[in-house]
Amino acid sequence: MEATRFVFGKEILEIAKTHDDFVVCNADTKACGIEAMGDLFPTRSYSIGIAEQNLINVAAGLAAEDFKVFACTFAVFVTMRCCEQVRNFICYPHLNVTVVGTHTGLQVGEDGATHAAVEDVAIMRAFPNMTIIQPADAVAAKAIAHAAHQFHGPLYVRLHRNPSPLIYDESYTFELGKATRVLNFGDDVALISSGIMLQKALDAAGALKEKGIKARVIDMSTLKPLDEDAVLEAARATNAIVTIEDHSLIGGLGSAVTQLLSEKHPCHVKCIGIPDVFGESGPSEVLYAKHRMDVPSIVAAAEQVVAKKR
């Protein structure tokens, strides 16, 4: 088990060895390991200090000079302390900056509310020109490092603090804007998850199967633009959807999916995520259980939407 943030950072450093077309800006955090770039390539890594507004503005200036820039720190800071700089100086001028936010969701655990970004996707989603991707495991994080490197324009990569289970094998490919159907037991219900909640979705699908409910599981690794075709196809096949995310129920995956479905294919939906509250210190599994984001809760939610169909 590895944390997506370190896999992503390590892979960016690997890419740096063969590609001299990007630079890195840091804000005094050990966010994803990318901070070591300066040891390898001193002229391609800039220390901006504990100054997130300037982190983004400097990244914008570098990008205006045709550098591809990775600006990395904790998600709670990079999407909120300098929220307006991301909007006005990265998204509005459509600059080639990858904003890397780590320590997202309740998975942060012990650090508590100030460090657990639970509303970052909602904020980044609202900005025109912004693309948002989130790996479900270490394999996806590695693939997403390459995708981010090749991407041109404003990009938010959402990463996770603690190690999480490995799901994919090396055959995994990441395609921007395309969901991955990870498992397909049948047409009773579709579990759509984003990020590291994927393992719980898979476990729930297994438990549902034992109960005679056939689920399919979809990994929405691109949060924006949403893979509408994948959602609609799942909705048409199952008419019962459960969304699962380690993020506030306001403005994240659940919001995106329900907005789409209410317009294009109304059906039974249940959203699993963090209710309108901040995080707190504690083991992440305890916090997930508290907010009904654990496997039994996903199973129960799936049973509910399936029951409504009948």
Binding site: G49, V58, A60, G61, Q85
Partner: protein, 278 residues
């Protein structure tokens, strides 16, 4: 670079009158906008665009150009006017300021208007962007300079000082910040809203070389800008100016921060600028 005869001091003064007339005409035509801080920066901007900056209007993205970032984006009328008079855009574009579909957005858009290096409008940020541009030039060993113009009220933004610290830390010898010290902001004087003094000491203590000038003495403005270009920075030029400079009823009057002159006021302003001591 295309042939360009740098203007001398007298020619710059003449050009500054044209720019000031453009500003009041544009803001009048738009029915809104920011004449005060545009007029206070006019002499500096004229010296920059008609003498100091190495530019090629035919190739706005020419790699060797000096960069200019307008951090106080609300003062875009003066930027649009110098860009038009220098040939980046048409002079006839100026009347489209703030209109639907115009390249001259209410605050500058780097993708809509040729010659605009960075979109602006949110105060306190252009200097950070300029730091990024200066780092880029430094690591690429390019020898152009990066200029950025800030307001004095703008210096109340914490992000200005994040950028100032960063410019000194990264030893950006190619970075020149100019502060238009007109002593006014939206609600009142900088003294009443939030004291920024001692401003020179602040910049110095952040590791910048500081030059203090009269922002309306064209000879001094020109000499200082060219001197700043010749020395190792980062350099901060604090230019004492008068908000609304050149139009007596706008001078040092808070209201003209963001107001459009009426037809009658426009006439008065134009003839006054025309008749100004040559």
């Amino acid at each position: 670079m295309a042939d360009f005869e740098k203007l001398d001091v007298q020619e710059l003064k003449d050009m500054a009158r044209t720019i000031r007339q453009d500003i009041v005409k544009m803001v009048h035509a738009a029915g809104s906008g920011h004449p005060g801080g545009s007029l206070s920066a006019t002499d500096i901007m004229t010296a920059l665009y008609f003498n100091v900056l190495n530019l090629d209007p035919q190739q706005p993205k020419w790699k060797g150009r000096d960069r200019f970032v307008l951090s106080k984006g609300h003062c875009c009328p003066v930027l649009y006017s110098v860009l038009a008079r220098r040939g980046f855009i048409d002079v006839s574009d100026l009347t489209t300021l703030r209109k639907y579909g115009s390249k001259l957005q209410g605050h500058p858009d780097m993708h809509k208007c040729p010659g605009v290096e960075m979109s602006a409008g949110s105060l306190g940020n252009g200097i950070g962007c300029a730091v990024g541009m200066a780092i880029a030039a430094k690591v690429r060993q390019e020898d152009h300079k990066v200029f950025v113009l800030l307001g004095d009220g703008e210096c109340q933004e914490g992000s200005v000082w994040e950028a100032a610290m960063c410019g000194a830390h990264h030893q950006l010898g190619n970075l020149i910040a100019i502060v238009d010290v007109n002593r006014l902001q939206i609600l009142d004087t900088t003294d009443k809203v939030m004291k920024i003094d001692p401003l020179a000491d602040k910049w110095r203590s952040f590791g910048w070389k500081v030059l203090e000038i009269d922002g309306h003495d064209m000879a001094q403005v020109l000499d200082t800008l060219n001197y700043a270009k010749s020395i190792d920075g980062p350099v901060a030029i604090l230019a004492a100016t008068v908000k609304g400079k050149g139009v007596s009823f706008m001078e040092d009057v808070i209201k003209w921060h963001g107001a459009a002159p009426s037809e009658k006021e426009l006439g008065l302003a134009l003839s006054e600028i025309e008749g100004a001591a040559k």
